[in-house]
Subunit: 484 residues, 2 copies
C-alpha cells in the first residue's frame, strides 16, 4: 500500500467489526425504518394487464413493454442445455439491456468508515421500506426517462473527481429471470460534507451486517454491493494468522469481539496457500464446466413461448410451476414519480439458498456449485450449495430435491451459522422471499461431492466474485456473513 | 503452498531463466525445425473458390462453410459503436462456436520443467514449420470430424487423472476476424514417461523465449499459452525485492543471469502495492469502459455485408482495406489429412503491435488500451498500446496513425527492448505477419495518456489475463518477454 494511506480493506474491516458510531444505535435504525412506514402513504395493488396505463403487449411478438420503450421488456427464450433434469424449455424473461448503478457512498467519521444507506419503498418488497444502497438506479432513472427527479447523490457515481472509487464492478443479476442483466456495483468515498437528505442515514458496516439478521430488512441490491466490499488483502494483511490480531488492534477501542464463526470467516478470507484446491484448480473447474456444458438460449416473442400462457392478470406456467408475471399499480408520496404501474415477477413458492461450509485442515471452506441459468453471460456462474429460487429446483417435493437440500433443511440448530429470510429486489419482484442459510458440517461430513460442486475458501470465492464469476444468490449470502 | 510441494510458479521461473537442458541447445532446435522442412513435402496453393472440394457458399445467405457443417464458417456482421473513427460498418467474420484446445505438456527432468513443443506445418505460416504447443486442436479435430487421426497427446488434456492441470483458462482469439471465439489454453504436467513422437521435442521455457526472437518461428497459438504461464506468485515469493535473489538462488547452478530489462520485468510481475493505479482503479477503468462504450454486433449473411464483394478468388473490401478471405489447397505428407482445401484470411498490409513501457517510481509499467472489436465477448478487452492488425488502424498513412504509433515506430534503438516479427495462426490466417515491439520510454515521457489508455504493472496485467480480460495481441507480446 502507498505510504501514508491506510488500505481500504483495513478501514472496511474496522467498520465491519463495530456497531458503534456517532449517528445512532442499530436499534435506532430499525425504529427509523418503522417511522418511515408510518410517515408515508404507500399503496400497491395488483391489477389486470388491461388496466395498465404505461405497459402494453406488442401485437406481433406478444412482448410486454413500457410505452417509452425504456426500463425493461418481458420477452421469451427457448433454452437448451445438456445438464439438469430438463434438456429444453421455454420461459418468459426480463430483458433490460443497460447497466444500472447500485452504489453506496462511504465517508470517514471519527476515523471510521460509515455507509450512507437509504430507506426506500419498493412496490414488491414484503416490507414497505427496505434499507438499500445510497443509489439504486436504472439507466432510465438517471437519464430521467420518466420525467421524475434525478436520483439523489447519483452525481457522486457519475462524475469522476467528486469521489474516490473504492469498488466498481459489473455484477450479474438473477439468471432465472433476467437475460444477461448486469448492474454496476460501486462504493465511492467522499471527503466533503454532504447534506443527509430525508430517508438517508450514515451507519457502520457492522450495523448493516447486524440488520441482515432481521427478515427482509436489507434489500438484495444492497446485499449485492456489500458482497463486493473487500475486508482482507493479503498484500496488506499478510497471512491469515495475523489477521485476528490485526482486527483486535483495529477494533480494540470499542471492545468489539469476533464470534468464533466470525474469526473462521476472517481466516478463510485471509488464508494463504491453505485451500483444498489451488487457485488454478478452481479456475480449471470453471473452464472445464464452460467447455462441457451446452447452453443455447434463443430469444422468442412472448407469444411463441410454449408451456406458458397469458391470462387477464398474469403470465403463468401451464404446469403451475416456477413463477408468474403480473402487474401492479403503486402509489407513494415521496418517490420520484407519485403513481405508476409496472409488471413484477412473483414466485410459486418460497425460495431457499444456502451454503454448506466446513473446516478443512482448520480453514473454513464453502461448497459452491456451477450454475447453469438462461440469463448467464458466460454459460456457467458460481452459485451457492443450494439454490431454489424461481427455477426448476423446488422445495416442494423431497423426491425432487437437489443435492444437499436435506442437509440444509434438517441441520440441527447448533450447526446453523446463519438463518434469515431475505427478499429479491422489489423493483422487479413481488414478494419473492428466500430463506437464507449457512450450515457448518463436520470436517468428516460431505466428503464426496457430486460433479459440478467444489470446496473453495472465501479468499478464492471473493476473487471470483471480483471478476464477475459469482451469481447474485451466492453474493447475497456472502453479504450476510458477519464477523461479530 | 502446500508443505513439501514447490510452487509451480517457482518451477516455471527456474525453467524461464535457463536454456540448459538434457535434450538440446537452442541452436539445435532451430536446426531441427529446418530439417523438418527438408524432410517434408509440403505445398500450399491459392485456388479460386470454385475449385474448393470441401467448402461452399450457401445459396440463401452467401455464407461459406465446410460440407460437414463443422470447423468454421465465414459469415457477416454489422457493427455499430460510439468509439473510434467509424461508427458503423459491415465485415466478413469467422464464426467457430466451439472451444479448441491449445495445450502444452510439461514434465520435470533433472529438477527442471521442460515443455513438449511441436514442429508443425500450417498452410498459412510464413515458415513451412512453426514451433507450436503440444496440442493445437479444434473440437472438430479431436472429435475426428475429418476422419483423420486423433491429435497426438490430446488424451493428457481430455482425460482427468492422466496429468496435473497447471493452467486451464479460456482465452479469446482475434476480435477483428473471429466472432466470440475462444480457446482453452492449458498446461498440464505429466509424471510418467511418454514417447517423444517424431515432430516433438522437450525444451526449457527459457529456450522457447529465446526462439521468440527469431521471426515467425513460434506460432501465435503457442504464444497465447505461454502468456498464461505464471512466473511469480506473491503468496509464494513475497515482495518484489526478494524475487531477484530467489531467481539467482533457483537458477544459480547454470549461472543464468537476468538482463537488466529482465530484472525489471520480474519486479513488475512481483510488485506489491507499488503500482500507479490500485487494482480497484484498474478494474474500475474497465467497468467504466464497458458502461460507456456502445458495441452492437448483428450477424448477417455474408451476401448482405455492405462494402465487401466476392470475386472468383477472394472476398474483398471495396475500398481495398482491412483484409481478404481466399481459398488455398494444401498438401502434406505427415499431417492427419494428406490433402485438403480451406479459406484463409490474408492481410492488406503488415501488422504492428507494441507496448510502450516505462518505470514509475522504479517499477516497470505497461501502457494498455481498451480495445473495441466486433469479436469481443464483453464489449471491451485490454489491448497493447498500439495494435494495427486487420482492423481500421493502418500503418500506411501517418496522418491516420493511432496514438503512440510515432513513438513506437521512431523509437531510437537503445529504447527498443524487443523487436521481432511474429505471424498469426497459420490455420486461419495466410501470412499475416506482425511487427512486434516493446519500447521503453523515460519516466518523464508520455505523462498524459488519452482517454482509453492506462498504465498498469505486469502483476496487474497478468491478473486480468488470468480471468480472460486481455486480448490475443497483448498476450502474444507478453509471451515474448524474456528474463535472460
Amino acid at each position: 500500500m502507498r505510504v501514508g494511506a491506510e488500505a481500504k480493506e483495513s478501514r472496511f474491516l474496522r467498520s465491519a467489526v463495530t456497531e458503534e458510531n456517532r449517528f445512532q444505535t442499530t436499534a435506532d435504525v430499525v425504529a427509523w425504518l418503522s417511522s418511515r412506514v408510518e410517515a408515508t402513504c404507500f399503496s400497491v395493488e395488483c391489477i389486470p394487464f388491461a388496466r395498465s396505463r404505461e405497459w402494453q403487449f406488442d401485437d406481433a411478438t406478444g412482448n410486454l413493454s413500457h410505452t417509452s420503450g425504456k426500463f425493461f421488456r418481458v420477452e421469451g427464450v427457448r433454452v437448451r442445455t445438456n445438464v439438469g433434469p430438463i434438456p429444453e424449455w421455454d420461459q418468459p424473461i426480463i430483458v433490460q439491456p443497460e447497466f444500472g448503478i447500485l452504489g453506496i457512498i462511504v465517508r470517514e467519521f471519527d476515523g471510521q468508515l460509515c455507509l450512507l444507506m437509504q430507506a426506500k419503498p419498493q412496490p414488491g418488497s414484503p416490507r414497505p421500506f427496505q434499507l438499500t444502497a445510497t443509489v439504486q438506479a436504472t439507466r432510465s432513472n438517471f437519464t430521467q426517462v420518466h420525467q421524475g427527479a434525478r436520483p439523489h447523490y447519483v452525481e457522486y457515481f457519475l462524475e469522476r473527481g467528486r469521489s474516490t472509487v473504492l469498488v466498481d464492478q459489473l455484477q450479474v443479476e438473477q439468471g432465472t429471470a433476467f437475460l444477461w442483466k448486469r448492474n454496476r456495483n460501486m462504493v465511492v468515498e467522499i471527503h466533503e460534507d454532504v447534506p443527509v437528505l430525508d430517508g438517508f442515514r450514515w451507519m457502520s458496516l457492522g450495523q448493516v451486517k447486524q440488520l441482515l439478521r432481521i427478515p427482509n430488512l436489507v434489500s438484495m441490491d444492497a446485499q449485492s454491493v456489500l458482497s463486493c466490499i473487500p475486508l482482507v488483502d493479503q498484500r496488506v494483511h499478510g497471512a491469515a494468522d495475523d489477521l485476528e490480531v490485526d482486527v483486535v488492534r483495529h477494533a480494540g477501542a470499542d471492545g468489539a469481539a469476533l464470534t468464533r464463526f466470525g474469526a473462521d470467516v476472517l481466516a478463510s478470507m485471509g488464508e494463504m496457500n491453505r485451500s483444498t484446491h489451488s487457485d488454478d484448480a478452481v479456475l480449471s473447474w470453471i473452464t472445464d464446466a464452460k467447455c462441457r456444458v451446452g447452453l443455447d438460449v434463443r430469444r422468442l416473442g412472448l407469444r411463441d413461448v410454449r408451456g406458458w400462457r397469458r391470462t387477464e392478470d398474469a403470465i403463468i406456467h401451464e404446469g403451475g410451476r416456477y413463477f408468474r408475471i403480473m402487474a401492479v399499480e403503486a402509489g407513494i408520496d415521496n418517490r420520484e414519480v407519485v403513481r405508476w404501474d409496472q409488471p413484477l415477477v412473483t414466485p410459486i413458492e418460497m425460495g431457499l439458498i444456502a451454503f454448506i461450509v466446513k473446516k478443512v485442515e482448520g480453514v473454513l471452506h464453502f461448497l459452491v456449485q456451477r450454475k447453469v441459468e438462461p440469463g448467464n453471460l458466460d454459460i456457467v456462474s458460481v452459485g451457492p450449495t443450494v439454490q431454489c429460487v424461481l427455477g426448476y429446483e423446488s422445495r416442494g417435493e423431497p423426491i425432487s430435491w437437489p443435492p444437499f437440500m436435506a442437509t440444509v433443511v434438517h441441520a440441527p440448530p447448533e450447526l446453523v451459522r446463519y438463518a434469515c429470510t431475505q427478499s429479491e429486489d422489489g423493483g422487479r419482484f413481488y414478494r419473492v422471499e428466500i430463506e437464507c442459510r449457512i450450515v457448518e458440517v463436520g470436517t468428516d461430513d460431505v466428503r464426496d461431492v457430486p460433479d459440478g460442486y467444489l470446496w473453495v475458501t472465501l479468499r478464492q470465492l471473493n476473487e471470483l466474485l471480483r471478476f464477475g464469476f459469482v451469481n447474485v444468490e451466492a453474493r447475497s449470502l456472502l453479504a450476510c456473513l458477519s464477523l461479530i
